[in-house]
Amino acid sequence: MDLTFSVQDEAFRARFRAWLEEAMAEYKEVMRAGGGNPLEQSRVWQAKLYEAGYLGMAWPRAYGGQEASLTEQVIVSEELARAKAPGTINTIGLTIAGPTIVQHGTEAQKQRFLPKILTAEELWCQGFSEPGAGSDLPALRTRAELKDDHFVVNGQKVWTSGAFFSNWCALLVRTDPSAPKRKGITYLLCDMKSPGIEVRPLRNAGGGSHFCEVFFDDVKIPRENMVGELHGGWQIARSTLEHERSGLSGVIALEGNLERLWQLASTIQRGDHKAIDEVMVRHQLVQMWFEKEGLRYLGFRNLSAQISGSGAGVSGSLGKLVNSQLRQKMASLGLEIAGPLASVAKKSPHVLDRGRWQAGYFDALGYSIGGGTSEIMHNAIAEGVLGLPHSADQ
């Protein structure tokens, strides 16, 4: 057991860190100068990462990837999180659509799509959930009929992040309504400029509009944009959904949250003492630190298992569950520490940290819903890890 990185890895880390520092300074300079809208700025940042060779770390070289080792992949995501670097705009392209095409796409699809995902020339969204198919994703009903060389799609998707600026959509459709629900689904790549697509933004509980509804009315998608087999889309989507990650970069984000929370508690005056002097506040913070640290070492266990191929890793559902619970506990504690000021909204006198704790609270509430609810994660752990019988499909 050994958590040290090799000399080569450490050299790689040092190189990347140095590059990152400089790149971020340059980027901030451009930002300050007011260069382009936020979307354009994010594209520029992603292209910068790509050109320097720090994007698509796991992807094949033939399509613009780096084919880097797992440790190098981890180092890059660790350093990005630690430096609080801007996010890469093309999240769905890089984490969902891209890996799916790498694994299941045709040669033509790989050449056509992968490089432009990396450069952020083409942005992606994900058309999986529907109003009647949330936790029960395979119940989706958006229809696609195969006519000659194309599909004709009708239906509605929901919770589609970034649909209004995306060029392409990774889309699950029902192609065989008579088959069992998991056997009649096909995975398509859909051009968002196709006629018949309508995108409506959807506002979330916190007031932001990251999500959209997408309506499909006789939308044509060429057959060559099908990934994998006809009616074989569920298995492909599932492999992406269950794609286990070490989750280490998520831990660094938690660490940052926790540090800010500790500092808040050390700042907030409650009568004659600080909030941190209250043992209940302190012990809650410590317990969260324990959980965060547990997630970190869990991440190392997963990473080692991936490196060795031992298969001894722990289910990604577990990490997702703990991570979302922890985020919510932190966000709630933030409001508790704020005391009477928890209720004061942004732009008001006496507001605390410009409302960041309230915004963070509403953000955190989404973590246990998006990407599979905590209830579904519990099912996945119970059935997938403990081998308990299905509760859902009796």
């Binding site: 949330g134 936790s135 506002r203 979330n204 909030a275 009477p340 008001s348 006198p349 246990s368 009796q394």
Partner: protein, 377 residues
């Protein structure tokens, strides 16, 4: 032995629910988040006054309803369930303080106009010290031998304070704490608008040597001003607890209905124990909280020796309950629950704000601990 709502109270509850359903909409609250604050239009305020809500706890001789504490709490519960903003509650608390204080000249001067909705009064207690309640008041009233005085301090989170005609301001008097009635246009008083996370309007009140007369102090007939302040704060806290109960039961009802209708995996989600047992736990909290609230109401009416600890029990328990029921309501709705269009986040916002008003759960647990230490000691 009768611990049920009386027929009259059942009527108050039903009428209040129907009135608010016909005359108020959660959409006003949603809009109020983008274009704050969310307030009660003056016509509606007049109707509320005409229905006798504002003076429900006030003596009949000045036109009040002379009802018990529970009747007032029933109105506050209905207001919480309907997402009506807070001025109803703060006004009820302020007029009741005036009514009961024993200061007849103040009472006679103001109370009819207040409960008829022609003038507006509020309570200003909290200060920017991270704490709650009378014990932490630092605003200071200096009294000269001729009975004139000046009041200095800063109050925050004062509800319904923008344009209020009368502020009942908690302050340190030479011989203890008390409430002082200050006119909204008094010299040295200035008001700065604040907004809560749920879109409700509150204000900061700066008091810079505001002049007052000793007759402006709300003292009881035996001259005890501190008791008046503490009773008013307890009365107000119970109404806020009732508002939190209204929030809790409304969200529980909405979520239960959704769980019966929403089908996933070929079954209503309410048939999954991950959903149904969570809702059962929520119901337990609501019913225990409701029982504590009734207990607190009765104890206040009877001036029972354990009234303070029961007020703290109700406020603490229902603060926790409203937040947890609202959070699990949001969660159990799945993606839909996380949308702007659904009312759950409006309830959650109000729950969080009211849970952090007039003492959070930890504050009230500590207050109760002091009482119990005596009782068990």
């Amino acid at each position: 032995m009768d611990f049920e709502l009386s027929e009259e109270q059942n009527l108050i509850r039903d009428v209040a629910a129907r009135f608010l359903e016909d005359n108020w909409s959660s959409d006003i609250r949603r809009k109020g988040l983008d274009e704050p604050p969310a307030t009660i239009p003056s016509e509606l305020w007049s109707e509320i006054a005409a229905m006798g809500w504002l003076g429900i706890s006030v003596g009949e001789d000045v036109g009040g309803g002379a009802q018990d504490m529970l009747s007032a709490a029933i109105l506050a519960e209905a207001a919480g369930a309907a997402l009506l903003p807070g001025p109803l509650i703060s006004t009820m608390a302020a007029v009741t303080a005036l009514d009961r204080s024993g200061n007849q000249s103040l009472r006679n001067a103001h109370i009819r106009a207040l409960i008829q909705g022609d003038k507006r009064a509020t309570l200003a207690v909290e200060e920017a010290n991270g704490c709650w309640g009378p014990d932490r008041v630092e605003a200071r009233a200096v009294l000269a031998s001729d009975g004139s005085g000046t009041l200095t301090g800063t109050k925050i989170l004062v509800p319904d304070g923008d344009g209020a005609d009368l502020f009942l301001v908690a302050a340190r008097l030479p011989d203890g704490l008390g409430l002082i009635a200050i006119a909204g246009d008094a010299p040295g008083l200035s008001v700065t608008p604040m907004r809560r996370m749920d879109g409700q309007a509150v204000v900061e009140v700066q008091l810079d040597g505001v002049p007052f007369d000793e007759n402006a102090i709300l003292a009881s007939t035996d001259g005890d001003a501190e008791r008046v302040l503490r009773e008013a704060y307890d009365f107000w806290s119970v109404l806020l607890a009732a508002d939190l109960l209204g929030i809790s039961s409304a969200v529980l009802e909405i979520t239960t209905e959704y769980a019966k209708e929403r089908v996933q995996f070929g079954r209503p989600i309410g048939s999954f124990q991950a959903v149904s047992h969570k809702l059962a736990d929520n119901l337990v909290d609501v019913e225990i909280g409701r029982s504590l609230l009734y207990g607190a109401c009765l104890a206040l009416d009877e001036e029972a020796p354990d009234r303070e600890v029961l007020v703290s029990a109700a406020k603490a328990y229902l603060s926790d309950t409203a937040v947890s029921v609202s959070e699990s309501g949001l969660q159990l709705h799945g993606g839909i629950g996380y949308t702007w269009e659904l009312d759950i986040h409006l309830y959650l916002r109000q729950a969080r704000c009211n849970a952090a008003s007039l003492g959070d759960a930890a504050h009230h647990r500590e207050r109760a601990a002091t009482y119990l230490a005596d009782s068990f000691g």
